[in-house]
Symmetry: C2
Subunit: 339 residues, 2 copies
């Protein structure tokens, strides 16, 4: 297995990216090829005192910035670390691409370079959703790639998310739920009602509608929604958790009694904080394109890079892309039947 790593994407590139690659070697077999400015990457490898042969460097002279218009950037910057990396996966010179760069560019680049899987109308970004107090996160699909969706797209998200959950995260016969206004079958919008019918007819362990209040409890393994809703769920969770922890910290330093109590609870508070730390869970896979691609958070630390590389290997090795391809006939059939 050879992981292609975009060395220049994200806020902390190339330093944290290279550091994460070196750290990942201890946890997995295979090779890593870092794509980007050769001089900078070699310097960082030296910094990490790395001198082995499992990391190679592929030079690319351009970088796509986070604030660039995705489609234009991907079309124009043919020698960017992202596009060069994607070409390597396409050519078979690598098995999976990992990048912390511009999300839109990763999506557009994956679509242009690798192509869409037949039968999949909308490739999607799936994100791990941590469930507090457990080590069994849920998978949220779509996590923000497709803001305006049709019912058929939500079916695709459910099918692809279910395969990824089973093959990569090792959850057998994953439960798939549809975000809606209530748990009753009849509740929802025109979009969710249409998607409900399609998901019910798919070869999935579909558990029906789920309410947003039950998502943090881990109500199901795969949470299906449109990308607008997925974005709201992810960002609200992040914002609210951050706010609660901030308020706790403030309250816990008001007065001597509280400060003493807080000192005794410091370890427990850190446990809690780490539960919200996305860097522990690996990145977000792009599903529906003809090759495995994983997007990391733009501000990924070396630790996040390391964990993402480790999780990216089964994504490539288990041939999730092939599995999705073999399910598309089934998808087409369901779509035809219920239209």
């Amino acid at each position: 297995m050879k992981v292609i790593l975009d060395g220049m994407g994200g806020d902390n590139a190339p330093k944290e990216i290279v550091k994460g690659a070196v750290e990942a070697l201890a946890l997995c077999d295979g090779e890593i090829c870092i794509v980007g400015d050769e001089t900078q990457i070699m310097d960082e490898l030296k910094e990490c005192k790395y001198s082995g042969d499992r990391i190679t460097v592929q030079h690319a002279s351009e970088v796509i910035r986070t604030d660039e218009a995705p489609i234009k950037a991907v079309r124009r910057k043919k020698d960017s670390s992202l596009v060069v990396g994607l070409e390597m996966v396409k050519d078979g010179r690598g098995d999976v691409l990992v990048s912390a760069g511009n999300t839109g560019a990763i999506l557009a680049g994956s679509l242009f370079t690798l192509g869409r899987i037949q039968g999949i109308d909308r490739p999607t970004l799936a994100s791990i959703y941590p469930i507090l107090g457990t080590d069994k996160p849920s998978l949220l699909v779509d996590a923000g790639a497709n803001s305006d969706c049709k019912a058929e797209n939500l079916l695709e998200f459910g099918v692809m998310g279910s395969i990824y959950m089973e093959k990569v995260l090792g959850r057998e016969y994953p439960e798939v739920g549809l975000v809606s206004l209530g748990t009753e079958d009849t509740k929802g919008t025109m979009l969710t009602k249409g998607a409900f019918e399609l998901l019910e007819n798919a070869k999935l362990n579909f558990v029906g509608n789920v309410e947003a209040r039950d998502i943090p409890k881990g109500i199901c393994d795969v949470i299906v929604c449109d990308g607008f809703t997925g974005n709201v769920i992810l960002k609200l969770t992040e914002g609210l958790a951050w706010n609660i922890l901030k308020l706790l910290k403030k309250k816990f330093t008001e007065g001597i009694k509280a400060t003493m109590g807080a000192a005794l609870l410091k370890g427990k508070m850190n446990d809690l904080k780490s539960q919200f730390d996305y860097s522990e869970y690996g990145g977000a896979p792009i599903l529906g394109v003809k090759g495995p691609v994983v997007k990391m958070h733009g501000s990924s630390s070396a630790n996040a890079v390391k964990n993402t590389i480790v999780k990216a290997i089964p994504y490539a090795a288990e041939d999730v892309v092939g599995m999705i391809q073999s399910h598309t006939e089934n998808i087409e059939e369901i779509k035809m039947r219920t239209v």
Copy 2:
């Protein structure tokens, strides 16, 4: 001012409803008329040792249950506490209706009995959104009444929410934000892009798009979104906060050191819990119908009932309904201009 109180709606009716009414008297002027089964309500008043003349009872023989189909229930049960109460507001025998009953029935009943304000296509349910660490909650419109919306509806929500925030919650020139995928003007779905244009042209303090991660920080006074998104925001907040507190409680009893720490922090933890307690903030107003109506949570306690009654009085006294009516001309004009 005379508050009409649905004595039979909600999980804890009539006991907590009546108790809340008695408690409210100490905090406000005016009268309360409790509508429902006379015998049961009189019994509860006796239980509260109430013998004054500021509470009266209006008998109604029927009750609309939470699980009933709203429109059918409102049409058939003409002598239900909800419908009788709404008729009283319509006739001028009362100034505002407060109910903890079936949300759909309150919405449908308000629409059928009181009628829609001209120029408002979709009456809405607005909900208080508590901002941790402050006593300045935001207002979320729509909180779940209208799941499929057009851009014009979001404009209406913004205008009505802004008036309510200013007149009832006393926030001058309230900042109105639109929930979207990013803060840039161009980000969003077809729906939010359309709504952005309309809100920008309205006589509002429109601050543009807001991201879900900033909602818990109190990014703006009035948060505008479709009812599906509003429902997700409210329920996810509730579920996540509950989950975090549950996990903290668990962690804080693991081991002697933690238990000691938790004992020292008990007061602070209770402070935090009360910040999530919706019963402190009063109910959710129905906006866009020709009369003030306030919906409380189905499981409202006497404390929630008391606070809702107190907040319902300025809603009626400040003539929010009249204010909305006088703004509809402006709304129609904006809709025409941008279509």
